[in-house]
């Protein structure tokens, strides 16, 4: 197994900068997810780690060894594309054993490792079946089996579950993560789906326009987004972003949002008057008659476990995640309160979160 170290990695395609000064470490045995919209450079980064693409600048170290200019075949990395690509005319055992056959491994050894892999994926009973006769889930398992049988140093996965419908994807996410826990292989996984990233990753790198915006554990990124982009990309619904004009003074514990005093975590920097944005997660919003911000219920979305209530507060629409027992009717006038310790104040010009007690707590923890 392996640690992957990416240092000042750059990739340009003519004028287009696909990846800009990326630095990160994927710990040995960890599940590392690169998350971002299409075109953010996540797949290009993955392909450079795998050796399918050469960087314009920077280094890639695999277990301390510089592999930047080594060929893909010399890196002992398995690349998993959309998992569905199987050989339809072969049975399950042959599909799984194919990579070993290509390497010229002895037949008895192939048989042994195919059986071991099938056991891990709980598809022992299917080994003699034609893959065309399998259910979607079993096909995914076979494709996974083919990827893991070589036991490479690391796995690179590029949106492997992209083609599946939502519910089935959730199921496969769980299986993938369980499998990872069983075999402990370092995995770099690329997706644009934040839920997939949150549910599987040990560490997430959020990318945008070729730049890594933030790296951290899922909950860390959710609670303490470094930028407005991250705040908006993570969460469903995402963080409410409410722009206003104001100034910041170190040590203060509130901001003035259009005349309403909003308590926030203790501010850690000074800044003159300028554009700010208040960031509020939907579950940090509550309805309260005594709250200074007033609005009207714009939409109610019942989800069973809870409900999303959208409140029009004139300057913005605020989404609140509330208990489904709570009554909220479209058109109703309500007060909107925010849970102070969870609020983020962003600098609207740079898009970065300003310093506050919320982030200092994070550094200590």
């Amino acid at each position: 197994m392996a640690e992957i170290r990416v240092e000042r990695l750059n990739k340009a395609f003519q004028d287009f900068v696909a990846v800009q000064d990326s630095n990160f470490v994927v710990d040995d045995r960890s599940f590392f997810v690169m998350l971002g919209p299409s075109g953010c450079g996540k797949t290009t980064t993955l392909r450079m780690i795998a050796g399918l693409e050469l960087p314009t600048d920077g280094r890639i170290l695999l277990d301390g060894e510089d592999v930047t200019f080594k060929r893909a075949a010399e890196r002992d990395i398995a690349f998993v594309f959309q998992l569905f690509a199987l050989y339809p005319h072969m049975n399950v055992a042959h599909n799984i054993g194919f990579p070993l056959k290509c390497e010229g491994v002895a037949r008895a050894e192939i048989r042994r490792r195919v059986e071991e892999t099938a056991r891990l994926l709980r598809i022992e009973a299917l080994l003699d079946r034609k893959v065309s006769k399998l259910s979607g889930g079993d096909r995914q398992r076979v494709a996974l089996g083919r990827a893991i049988i070589r036991r490479p140093k690391a796995f690179m996965m590029d949106e492997p579950l992209g083609a599946l419908d939502a519910e089935f994807r959730r199921l496969m996410c769980e299986e993938l993560r369980d499998l990872h826990d069983d075999i402990g292989a370092t995995t770099v996984y690329v997706t644009h789906d934040q839920l997939e990233a949150m549910s599987m990753a040990d560490q997430i790198a959020v990318m945008n326009h070729g730049v890594v915006e933030q790296i951290g554990a899922p909950q860390e990124i959710y609670d303490r987004p470094a930028t407005m982009f991250v705040a908006d990309f993570i969460g469903s619904p995402p963080m409410n972003l409410l722009p206003f004009e104001g100034l910041l003074r170190r040590g203060e514990r509130s901001v003035d949002y259009f005349g309403a005093r909003i308590d926030v975590p203790e501010i850690g920097e000074d800044r003159g008057i300028g554009g700010l944005t208040l960031g509020v997660r939907p579950e940090s919003v509550a309805l309260s008659d005594s709250a200074p911000i007033r609005g009207r219920v714009f939409a109610v979305e019942y989800l069973g476990t809870n409900q999303i209530v959208t409140i029009d507060i004139d300057r913005a629409k605020v989404k609140a995640r509330l208990s489904s027992r709570m009554s909220a009717r479209v058109g109703e006038h309500v007060g909107v309160a925010f849970q102070a310790p969870k609020l983020v104040v962003f600098n609207s010009t740079t898009g970065r979160a300003t310093r506050s007690a919320l982030y200092e707590d994070g550094d200590r923890g």
Binding site: M198, Q219, R281, A299, E301, R321, S324
Partner: protein
């Protein structure tokens, strides 16, 4: 707007009974969502209402008129397909205006401009009005297709998974917009989807369809809280309801004939081991940000429950589980009603 009535409608394709003796009333100004997996008969049902298929048996009424034998054009319905169908040579504006310019309507151009602009703003495509339809992203094309249907003001709207090709964020936005437009227009909408979130968030009533049969019909809250079968219980809710064989939880006071116990994730509470709580082991913890899903092992079964994002767990930690408001199902999978506490 008008109501839609289906009476004992059946349709068979070769060996497959796509729709079996289906009776259903879509009330005027109602947003009725038919929820089912692929192959459940959803699209066939919609096509029977639109007149794109003829039923083998039964009748279809729109606005009190028997349209079972009427041609599609004579039914005054607007159909939004899963795959947008626009006129590629026309601009977005002309695509939207098209139904208003048909000889049957003859709306003055000034009025057309007003209505097209208004709907384009609602669907956030107002800046694209002069673009050729082919120069749009998939999401924009689908919004134009929805806009064109809304502009027609037919008696009823039929929609076949119109949001399924859009990305998650846009889908979430359009769910809210579509529901608001429907309420503003007082439109009668029959909408089919396999996405339970769409059904839960938009529907006045949900009809759960499987293998051509309507299993349950009711408000989202009713269907979620009072499912009539295991199938319906498992169809709604994310994560899925936990289902346990009754013999694994002998301590519960169960109604006679109960063979399966269903517990929604929010009704499975983690507490301290002992105290008569069910003993379980923490298998995996998923931090999703707003909430944490805790995967547990209980007597060889996997269960999922919700926990606060800031509660920490240790792998293999032993916990106790408390069940509140469990649902009971008989051997056939039918729910056994219990008197509510």
């Amino acid at each position: 707007m008008a109501e839609i009535v289906l009476q004992h409608v059946a349709k068979r394709f070769g060996d497959v009974e796509a729709v079996k003796d289906l009776s259903l009333t879509v009330v005027e100004s109602e947003f009725l969502v038919i929820l089912g997996p692929s192959g459940a008969g959803k699209t066939t049902m919609l096509r029977l209402v639109a007149g794109l298929e003829r039923p083998d048996r039964g009748s279809v009424f729109i606005g009190g008129r028997d349209v079972t034998r009427a041609a599609p054009a004579a039914r005054d319905v607007a159909f939004v397909f899963q795959q947008y169908s626009l006129y590629p040579h026309l601009s977005v504006y002309d695509n939207l205006a098209f139904p208003l310019r048909s000889p049957a309507h003859r709306v003055p151009e000034g009025e057309i401009r007003k209505r097209v602009t208004a709907i384009a703003e609602k669907l956030r495509i107002e800046k694209k009005l002069q673009n050729r339809a082919t120069r749009l992203s998939g999401g924009e094309m689908q919004r134009v297709a929805i806009g064109r249907a809304l502009l027609r003001q037919p008696q009823v709207y039929l929609m076949d998974e119109p949001l399924s090709s859009l990305d998650a964020k846009l889908r979430a936005d359009l769910r809210v917009e579509l529901k608001r437009l429907q309420m503003e227009l007082g439109a009668t909408v029959l909408y089919v989807t396999h996405d339970q979130v769409e059904a839960m968030t938009m529907a006045t009533r949900i009809g759960v369809l499987n293998e051509g049969e309507l299993l349950q019909l009711g408000s989202p809250r009713d269907v979620y809280e009072q499912p009539n079968s295991i199938y319906v219980a498992a169809r709604l809710g994310s994560p899925q309801i936990n289902l346990l064989p009754a013999e694994l939880v002998p301590a519960l006071a169960m109604p006679n004939g109960a063979s399966t116990v269903g517990v929604r994730t929010e009704h499975l509470l983690i507490s301290t081991p002992g105290d008569g709580h069910l003993p379980a082991r923490v298998h995996r913890v998923e931090h999703l940000g707003d909430q944490t899903h805790v995967h547990l092992e209980f007597r060889g079964r996997n269960l999922v429950t919700l926990a606060s994002p800031h509660r920490s767990f240790v792998h293999d930690e032993q916990v106790g589980l408390r069940l509140i408001e469990p649902l009971y199902f008989d051997v056939a999978g039918k729910r056994i009603e219990t008197t509510a506490a």
